[in-house]
Symmetry: C2
Subunit: 226 residues, 2 copies
DNA sequence: GAAATAGTGTCTCTTAGACATTATGAA
DNA sequence: TTCATAATGTCTAAGAGACACTATTTC
């Protein structure tokens, strides 16, 4: 920020969110139907303007957008990147501060004008929302290679086989079971819940785990990946 | 102030740049003396407003700021993060899209009202520039653990011992020479220049290298770090 | 007991770092 | 020849993955 060049240009500033969740072992992105022009009636990323009187910062704006337009509270949220230029919005030169949220299916209640679309089957999106989603996917897939990020797609408790399946769904490749468990152990990310889960049927039940308190918000990092 | 259209928030948007360079084996950040209020006469990060008529996007604005205010052209530049809130600028709720640039000493010519300060001896900075610098340092130190990022602090050609010293200056710890060379080799980042460099004195000269064309802009990544 | 999945033990192959050795120029 | 640093060879320790084996539930 620096010395003025006369009047400030009129630049539109908004916040867009990429909400990712898992359904049927596949990443889905949440879209909302736009109620106003431009692109009225079109499915798009949840977004909105900054409320200067109300928001403590842009992340706070994103939290508000998620609450009001998607009905989500308490999601894992991180800033993704900022997209800008004269062409991305027909109203003129604009800036979109993009955030990425990860939620479990349970955190995502049915909500009017909200749907989930598999990222593999995303159609056309308005604005540059396709590029924003692509950036979110790249970020999540990259971070999943060395951090605990994917736990935010799970519910309160989960089994290690379930968590491994979540990682595999994101990364798109199978993982070695022994190595996976070694890494989870090293990260000291999880604690066992004293109760076993019984899955579908005729087999040994799996131990349930929850995320340890220090990592409810922060990520755990694995030194040498995975 | 210009609150022309009702639904759009009154938010100031600017671009700030953290220019990092090496001097005496220590990271330095480039500051410019502000010529206008607020904080007139104070040393701060180079920044400026977006020129909607002129800039193709915010990164383009950053390139222009670096050219006009610091005299830099062709620097490695990447978006860092976006800082926002009501308190960071006395003029009101503001958004700063921050970029990080890495330049060699040679790319940074003497320029009026421009100085380099060791990051270890950074005093007070106006706005939230201290947080922006901290984010840049965290990013650069992290990425230097697994990528070719530090080559952008070197000049056109350099020796492997020099490059290792650059990495060590950034990371703040010595590296294993054999492993370092293995990794550089695996990344296929460098190509030898047919001419040896003679350093200070009575010892074997070192081979000069340059960055291979595919990595002039993009980064080379090492799978398992370093 | 059979089937199915959870969880662990162990071996091997790969990789990283420590150390030692050779190379090459200047004084 | 000595000195200083460049460059490389090699051994060892640590880590990751493959595989196999045990555990525990339902039917």
């Amino acid at each position: 920020m620096n010395q003025t060049e006369a009047p400030y240009p009129q630049v539109l500033v908004s916040v867009d969110t990429v909400v990712l969740t898992l359904q049927d072992d596949a990443l889905h992105v949440v879209l909302v139907r736009r109620s106003q022009p431009p692109f009225e009636g079109v499915w798009a990323l949840p977004g909105g303007y900054i409320h200067a009187q109300e928001d403590a910062d842009a992340q706070d704006s994103a939290v508000r957008v998620l609450r009001d337009k998607v009905g989500i509270a308490g999601a894992y949220l991180e800033q993704l990147a900022t997209f800008s230029g004269p062409a991305r919005d027909p109203r003129g030169w604009s800036v979109a501060i993009a955030y990425c949220a990860l939620v479990s299916s349970a955190q995502l209640p049915p909500h009017d004008g909200v749907k989930r679309v598999p990222v593999a089957a995303l159609g056309q999106l308005p604005f540059d929302h396709h590029a924003i989603v692509a950036a979110a996917l790249a970020r999540v897939r990259n971070k999943s290679q060395y951090s605990s990020l994917p736990v935010h797609l799970c519910g309160e408790t989960f089994t290690l086989p379930q968590l491994q399946q979540v990682y595999e769904s994101i990364l798109g490749e199978p993982l070695n079971k022994v190595s996976f468990r070694r890494k989870m152990d090293e990260m000291q990310l999880l604690e066992a819940v004293p109760g076993a889960m019984r899955s579908g049927g005729a087999h040994r039940p799996a131990q349930l785990y929850r995320v340890r308190a220090p990592f409810q918000q922060a990520l755990a990092l694995s030194v040498r990946g995975l």
